[in-house]
């Protein structure tokens, strides 16, 4: 950035390995997080919170989960939607069966259930690799959705086949269900993203993350130097599904309010994958930037002709939206295949030398 680390000497290993080694960075990030907690709930209107910020946070968590699996551990997965569904349906079952259970705990437990399912569907990854694995993970996507459609127990025998988020409180404030304010739901979603982004950042810096990256870069070589592929790959599937499961639960409880299996179909899996790729594979910040990009672009595209005063039919609008969306993805991949995170990094390096680049 425009400031430098001159004069900030590291005298301990701990301070040398801090996530944000430069004091200014640390202050800026802390201020940004504080602003994220305070500004939108106080000043943003209902539309902004409900239509943009909450889905952004929910998908950021899912993208974070997929990025751990695909970006760090190198296992291409197209089953994200299925794992999100596991989280959502577990949260629904848990919160209706045990109404006294704290909703935060419900989210975490449904994440754990999703992690177990993730381990089961991660087993083929030990033998199947690359695109074969990607197609194989589609099996989990289709099977899980079919299961939730077919077994009425999952929806508490509701004839409509939908799950509806019951109203639950945290510290006396209603955070889920139809009576919760958008601001309360936003704060819960934000807290999850902040905590789990920090967790992910530390995870990938440590032993676990290093063994994931070793497996990603060359699994046989990793095996030879003592990384156990079975444990490492399954752990990646478990943790990734844990994140996705919580995101799925949030999708229903904090964003949609009620949902059926259609909300978790294959397009969700692709959407989250897009976020990861556009944001940057193997980058925690990238997952969040990617989620923001993919959430904002369609909203932007829908609103542009409206504000310009061009009247288009709904069908035509949708087709143009698809074209522009596809075109944008192509454009981004061609301009910067390593995603928004790389752009940010390049920008930072440029700014460091600015205004004397030589």
């Amino acid at each position: 950035m425009i400031y430098r680390e001159a004069g900030q000497f590291k005298s301990t290993y701990a301070s040398d390995q801090a996530i944000f080694p430069i004091t200014q960075d640390r202050v800026v990030v802390l201020l940004a997080v504080a602003a994220a907690f305070l500004v939108p709930p106080l000043f943003a209107n209902e539309y902004w919170l409900q239509a943009i910020l909450i889905p952004f946070l929910v998908y950021a968590l899912a993208a974070l989960g997929l990025n751990l699996l695909t970006g760090y551990a190198g296992q291409l997965s197209l089953g994200t939607g299925g794992f999100m569904a596991v989280g959502a349906y577990s949260a629904f079952k848990l919160s209706t069966a045990f109404p006294w259970l704290n909703i935060i705990l419900v989210f975490l437990l449904s994440g754990l259930i999703a992690a177990l399912v993730g381990i089961v569907f991660g087993i083929p990854s030990l033998r199947i690799k690359g695109f074969y694995l990607a197609v194989a993970t589609l099996a989990s996507q289709f099977f899980l959705i079919w299961l939730f459609n077919k077994v009425p127990w999952f929806v508490n025998y509701a004839s409509s086949g939908t799950i509806t988020a019951p109203g639950r409180t945290v510290l006396g404030v209603m955070v889920t269900g139809p009576n919760a304010t958008a601001a309360a739901r936003y704060v819960v979603a934000l807290s999850f993203v902040v905590v789990f982004a920090l967790l992910a950042k530390n995870l990938v810096r440590g032993r676990v993350g290093r063994s994931w990256m070793a497996i990603r870069d060359r699994d046989i070589a990793a095996e030879i130097i003592g990384v156990r592929p079975l444990r490492t790959k399954l752990l990646a599937f478990a943790i990734s599904s844990f994140y996705c499961g919580i995101a799925g639960a949030e999708l229903v409880f904090l964003f949609l309010g009620s949902a059926e299996t259609l909300a978790f179909d294959i397009t969700q899996s692709f959407l989250v994958l897009f976020m990861v790729i556009v944001g940057g594979l193997g980058s925690v910040l990238g997952s969040i930037l990617g989620a923001a990009f993919i959430i904002v672009v369609p909203i932007f595209l829908t609103n542009v002709p409206h504000t310009l005063g061009i009247a288009l039919s709904v069908a035509l609008l949708k087709q143009i939206e698809l074209m522009v969306f596809g075109g944008l993805i192509l454009f981004f991949l061609i301009v910067e295949p390593h995603g928004l995170a790389r752009l940010w990094q390049i920008g930072k390096e440029k700014l460091r030398l600015w205004p004397f680049p030589h």
Binding site: Y132, I277, L333, P337
Partner: protein, 311 residues
Amino acid sequence: MGILHAVLVAPFVDIASNPRFLAEVLIGGVASGLMYSLVALGFVLIFKASGVFNFAQGVMVLFAALNLVGLMDLGVPVPVALVLTMAIMVALAFAIERVVLRPLVNQEHIILFMATIGLNFFLEGFGEMIWGANVKKLDVGIPDRSFITAGIQMNQLELIAAVTAGILVAVLAVFFQRTRIGRALRAVADDHEAALSIGIPLKTIWVVVWSVAGLVAIVAGIMWGAKSGVQFSLSLIALKALPVLILGGFTSVPGAIVGGLIIGVGEKIGEVYWGPLVGGAIENWFAYVVALAFLLFRPQGLYGERIIERV
């Protein structure tokens, strides 16, 4: 005990008690399997020559069918419309090579895969914007009639599709094995750099491969369009072709056919005899489970190139 009996015994009793019905199921399975193969072929061609997992193949099928139907609706006679559609698919191949593949050369496979998904969205919006999103009937003169031979009900359209798939594979095999450009394609599939160094133009090869995949998409589009109408859902058959693909192996043309047959027959038998036990509608995931079970024993698919792993 009751469950075990229902799963392990009763379906086989069913099968044995009515062989004629079984034959019908089998023929239906073979026919639909060949239809999947037609789509899977397009995937294989592109993956073989350029290592790109082209997710947009399903939409290319839709796009080809949309163009064909659209031109026919404008009053263009069938042969002319067919030639025009071919020209459009070749032009599309040129455009894809120039705009998408060339700037992304040497990128990781996953990036190219994502690019084809972007292409998928783009083509879907583009095709529907030009020709409209409503369901269209494709009628190129193939009758969709059923008739009965030796007491077994058969469908003329499916038979024609089967014959077409067979001819297509034969033509492709000759093309790959006997022609100069086919040899060049195989060389590129083996080793990009070696192929380049002996003077095979990579760009031309890619255009050729994507054109051939486009032509295969037209055939698949005609068959599927005649069967179920031309509409958005046509692009979803890509998802049906994927298990065929991993079962047969990404790089094998015969694998696409054999994989298609196994998936088609397995799916029909599973749906008819075991489906009712779990409430039906299993065809969405059953194919994937069949493919997965095969893969656990042969990770490269039936005919895929043997995976040799070294450090």
